[in-house]
Symmetry: C2
Subunit: 208 residues, 2 copies
């Protein structure tokens, strides 16, 4: 399948899929980070999911796309037109099974996020996001020229707010609160130093 694809790069802010597109392309995200988002009639944006390297894009093989997919950082991906994708899937049962497995995992993850969003406090959401980001960045962290326990958040405060269902101000306040409590350090420039992973986990679990 990789042979059928076209290598492509997107700059920060570029849109790969727009809500309402028919036969939107599919792609494998190789480097960078993207957001799946929905803009309300009122112009407010909600981020319903993030895409990390290795993730597959193209939840709309059938029908039209319901969400935008936008690059949050410079991105490289391997893109396939929807028809090619459909044909390949039909011919390669292994591929289809793999995609099904992945999609089922997505469903489970979305349900977890739903459970989180419906009850968690602002502090728990922010702490959970930092934790999750640290886990996903993992070994890459060092690549950003940051030390152990240090990560570079790929999202602005505003994007974090859209993702967590909060306002910019509240996100900022919770970050400050975690810093004051000695749980994290904020050396500036979107970097976060995780001083006390256990306390961070506690905060994410909702233990005030």
């Amino acid at each position: 399948l990789a042979g059928q694809g076209v290598q492509r790069r997107l700059a920060r802010g570029e849109t790969l899929v727009r809500a309402g597109d028919r036969s939107a392309p599919c792609a494998n995200l190789q480097r960078g980070l993207m957001k799946i988002c929905h803009t309300t009639p009122a112009g407010q944006e909600v981020i319903v999911g993030l895409l990390w390297p290795g993730d597959f894009i193209g939840q709309s093989l059938d029908g039209e796309a319901t969400h935008d997919v936008v690059a949050l950082t410079p991105v490289t991906l391997c893109q396939f037109p929807a028809p090619v994708m459909a044909r390949t899937l039909a011919e390669q049962p292994t591929m289809e099974r793999a995609l099904l497995t992945r999609t089922l995992a997505d469903v489970r993850q979305l349900r977890s996020r739903l459970a989180q969003l419906s009850r968690a406090t602002a502090l728990a959401r922010v702490a959970g996001f930092i934790e999750e980001t640290a886990r996903r960045l993992g070994t890459e962290a060092a690549a950003d020229g940051v030390g152990p326990g240090m990560i570079a958040l790929p999202l602005s405060r505003g994007e974090m707010a859209d993702l967590l269902g909060l306002t910019i101000e509240t996100v900022s306040r919770q970050m400050t609160k975690l810093r004051s409590a000695g749980v994290i350090g904020l050396p500036g420039g979107r970097r976060v130093l995780i001083r006390d992973p256990d306390a961070l986990e506690q905060a994410a679990e909702g233990v005030a």
Copy 2:
């Protein structure tokens, strides 16, 4: 596939799948309503999805179940052991494709719910739920011995609260508010009369 399945009935409150189960069964829901839910360590329950007649149960072909599946009403379903399901899928590409399509639809729906939950007010959530329920019950409504525009909510106030991420009291207050505004009628016993569908839609959209 239907031939391989076993017809089964569950009473209200019975559990089909428990979180942590390995090789949980798959099933087709034929009559009744079920909930997919998660109980937090603190004992609070969050409903992450509802299952209506025609829906497929078994988002955990691989790995272990992450959520409980419980009957909200008396239920009849056609159940298959996970191994049978796996074998059938492997042998019947059409079936696998159908399941993939369904699962992708689930993903889209979950994302919509996520967008809704992250920003909507209590009134919008309640109004949206009534609207959605009315749509899904659709023609069945008449079967419950209720007139035009009348539906019988399949959930208690507490279950609605768990689903919408609110408390019982808040759900109750929003229902009262909609009644006072002349949008709905509450003749008692979980029944809801939709007096002004347009106003209900407006409320669901967040128009105060």
